[in-house]
């Protein structure tokens, strides 16, 4: 039998408890991260960078690959307006990209009409093929950009519709082949960031699975798996990767990869990713070892959850904090590695651009006769700022996710 006073007390406690909100690890970490000014600036910078890199085709930039050896070599940063497609050697209709596109569309329409008029099936087939090949070779986009994927192609069309022939002047100057550096830095950001992110993700998948499995099973399995990691640690991977890339660059090997539909740059990402998982696996294993005797794991085992389920549903989410910290620290080292390789001429191959490649071009252009400082400064600054931001964000996250700091500032 419950007395009134008892009930009152209970209700009071209940009301009080409703007023208290639990602070999850992530809320707490986010609160602390928000107070860390450098980390927040870095985060905002990185988000902006990612967005800009994604919408690069939408921006009114000049062509990243169109060379102008006669008039535009090593122009210092300037504000002179540049009209898209105005270079004389392109022979664009009316000296503009829109003019040429109108002409091109007209030609395609004319061909299609031809096709519609002839009743002959063979003839139609032939015309369809010629349209196809003209689209591939003569379309103005293919002369100003390098192998746009369907999404970028659409985005470029929107850009032309909005901005017409306007393009941003060469505010970063031009390089030794007369290409606009601003456009190249933007397009290079796409490659550099994708290399960093994909390789880091590959290393994340391998490292987390490997470390979690070793940590969960423990005993001999753990010992054997970690011994392998120890052995791999003492392999000089920089050299092994170069050796591997040499092998992958062999024409026959390349042809084989093309035949199975994997392109060179994909292999490159995966190779880099596959060597950066070692530290990740060690860290995850340590965490899992500590967690696996916790009660929630025992509970899961009691109700008959399978080991894979326990590992990936119960253990892995609990080590995500450390994993994210290591991820933010892996991305910059992968990007630096890509820059290294591109600099040595074994990374991203032209006409693709990456920051490493731009820096390589820039360094080649450094000479005493005339200092083309802009070809080094801008790509270098882009890379350095990104690496800065990633490092600061990683440090900030590490502090923020440190459980010893819980509920403190």
């Amino acid at each position: 039998m419950m007395t009134d006073s008892n009930r009152e007390t209970l209700e009071r406690i209940l009301a009080e408890s409703k007023g208290i909100h639990g602070v999850s690890l992530w809320q707490d970490a986010w609160r602390r991260l928000r107070r860390n000014k450098t980390a927040m600036i870095s985060l905002v910078f990185l988000i902006l960078l990612a967005v800009m890199a994604f919408i690069t085709p939408l921006l009114p930039l000049q062509s990243p690959i169109d060379k102008d050896l006669n008039n535009r070599r090593f122009l210092p940063p300037n504000l002179q307006a540049v009209v898209m497609g105005s270079r004389a050697d392109l022979k664009f209709e009316g000296g503009t990209l829109t003019g040429e596109m109108a002409k091109f569309d007209k030609m395609i329409v004319a061909l299609q009409e031809d096709a519609a008029q002839t009743g002959d099936a063979d003839e139609q087939q032939k015309i369809a093929e010629s349209i196809q090949s003209r689209m591939e070779v003569e379309h103005p986009f293919n002369q100003l950009w390098n192998e746009l994927d369907p999404l970028s192609w659409k985005m470029t069309e929107i850009r032309i519709a909005v901005f017409g022939d306007y393009s941003i002047p060469s505010v970063f100057g031009t390089d030794k082949l007369g290409r606009d550096l601003l456009a190249r830095v933007f397009w290079g950001a796409r490659v550099s960031l994708i290399v960093g992110v994909i390789a880091a993700l590959v290393s994340l998948i391998i490292g987390v699975s490997y470390g979690a499995i070793a940590g969960y099973f423990g005993g001999h399995i753990d010992a054997a798996m970690m011994r392998l990691v120890d052995v791999l640690y003492s392999v000089p991977f920089f050299f092994v990767v170069i050796f591997l890339l040499t092998f992958l660059g062999e024409p026959d090997v390349k042809a084989w990869f093309d035949s199975v539909g994997v392109d060179q740059i994909m292999v490159f990402y995966i190779t880099i990713g596959a060597i950066y998982w070692l530290t990740m696996s060690r860290v995850v294993r340590g965490q899992v070892l500590a967690l696996r005797h916790e009660q929630f794991i025992e509970a899961a085992q009691t109700i008959g959850a399978s080991p894979p389920r326990i590992i990936f549903r119960h253990l892995v989410p609990n080590v995500m904090g450390v994993v994210i910290v290591y991820l933010t620290l892996t991305i910059p080292s992968v990007m630096l590695f890509e820059a290294f390789l591109s600099f040595l001429g074994m990374g991203v191959a032209p006409p693709d651009v990456s920051w490493g490649l731009l820096l390589n071009d820039g360094i080649e252009a450094l000479s005493i006769i005339k200092i083309f400082w802009w070809v080094v400064l801008f790509p270098g600054a882009a890379l350095a700022f990104t690496l800065f931001a990633l490092n600061f964000l990683g440090d900030g996250l590490r502090d923020a996710l440190d459980p010893r700091m819980k509920n403190r500032d």
Partner: protein, 309 residues
């Protein structure tokens, strides 16, 4: 002492195992590439090609070749002939490149240690002063800017504009200095940060307070009581630092046109000179293993709490 011998023996065994794995993988890759060193030679009569292959043991079954080359490496230290450099064996290439790379690496490491520790100590002692901020900004810059960029700017500045150093060449101290400085710079930056953190942490320890309390002068407390404890993380970073120096020297040798192992390795890789590339990978593995072992041993001597295992 017994511990030490056992430890070295164990590491040695692991090294042999690692080398064997690296060799096997390299061999498999090398042989899976179609063609052989002679097949690209235009106009070589088939009979002569056969003869050449027989001379270089390329006509043997693949397993036989695998064993023969392995035997050659193990018993005679013979890593075969270069595919691309005329009249060079892999051993000759390495013998030529090694002294250059080794002296470059040693200079760079010594420089990195001196500069890094000094900067770290200064910024910890004068914490929250402009000197501290400036040094730590410089350190972050050193970490984030790739060393090939630093190197090319340094060439422009010191070689061409100020004309303090010669542009290229190898042998004299002034020719080593600039590449070694550029190579050591990112490592110095890292060491500076490690030292600073270590110093700040040790300075809050009780024994330091005691030292101050008994009236020791400040510089003595810092050099005798704080620094040794603060340098432990630096010692354990030396292992990765060696790896970084080896990697970095590849790039710097290319920029400064130095005839070290790194530039040979890059050339070998670019020209698909598989024997040289494989030999280099093996040598780098040995170097890394030896250096890591040395660092571990040093660490256990400095910090008696750490046991070698």
């Amino acid at each position: 002492m017994r511990d030490l011998a056992g430890y070295i023996l164990k590491r040695g065994l692991w090294m042999v195992l690692t080398l064997w794995v690296v060799y096997s993988i390299s061999f498999a890759l090398m042989r899976s590439v179609p063609g052989n060193p002679f097949s690209s030679e235009r106009g070589m009569p088939p009979a002569i090609e056969l003869q050449m292959k027989a001379r270089y043991n390329l006509d043997a079954p693949i397993m036989q070749q695998y064993v023969d080359i392995l035997k050659g490496i193990v018993f005679r230290g013979d890593m075969g002939w270069s595919y691309k450099l005329e009249d060079y064996s892999v051993n000759q290439v390495i013998a030529e490149g090694f002294p250059v790379s080794a002296s470059l690496a040693i200079f760079a490491l010594v420089f990195a240690l001196i500069l890094g520790i000094t900067a770290g100590v200064i910024s910890a002692v004068y914490r929250r002063t402009p000197a501290d901020t400036a040094l730590m900004m410089a350190a972050v810059l050193g970490i984030a800017v790739p060393n090939f960029v630093i190197a090319s700017i340094a060439i422009l500045l010191f070689v061409f504009m100020l004309q303090l150093f010669p542009a290229a060449g190898w042998g004299t101290l002034s020719q080593i200095a600039l590449p070694a400085l550029c190579l050591g710079m990112p490592i110095a930056a890292y060491i500076a940060r490690l030292t600073r953190t270590g110093m700040l942490e040790t300075m809050t320890k009780d024994h330091v307070r005691t030292a101050f309390a008994k009236g020791l002068p400040r510089h003595k407390v810092i050099t005798r009581h704080v620094l040794p404890g603060a340098l432990l993380p630096v010692v354990s970073y030396l292992g990765p630092a060696v790896a970084r120096v080896l990697t970095g020297s590849v790039v710097l040798e290319k920029i400064f046109a130095l005839p070290g192992m790194g530039s040979h390795f890059i050339n070998a890789a670019l020209q698909r000179d598989y024997t040289v590339a494989m030999g280099m990978v093996l040598i780098y593995t040995v170097l890394l293993f030896v250096m890591n072992t040395l660092v571990d041993i040093t660490y256990s001597i400095i910090d008696p709490r750490v046991k070698l295992q």
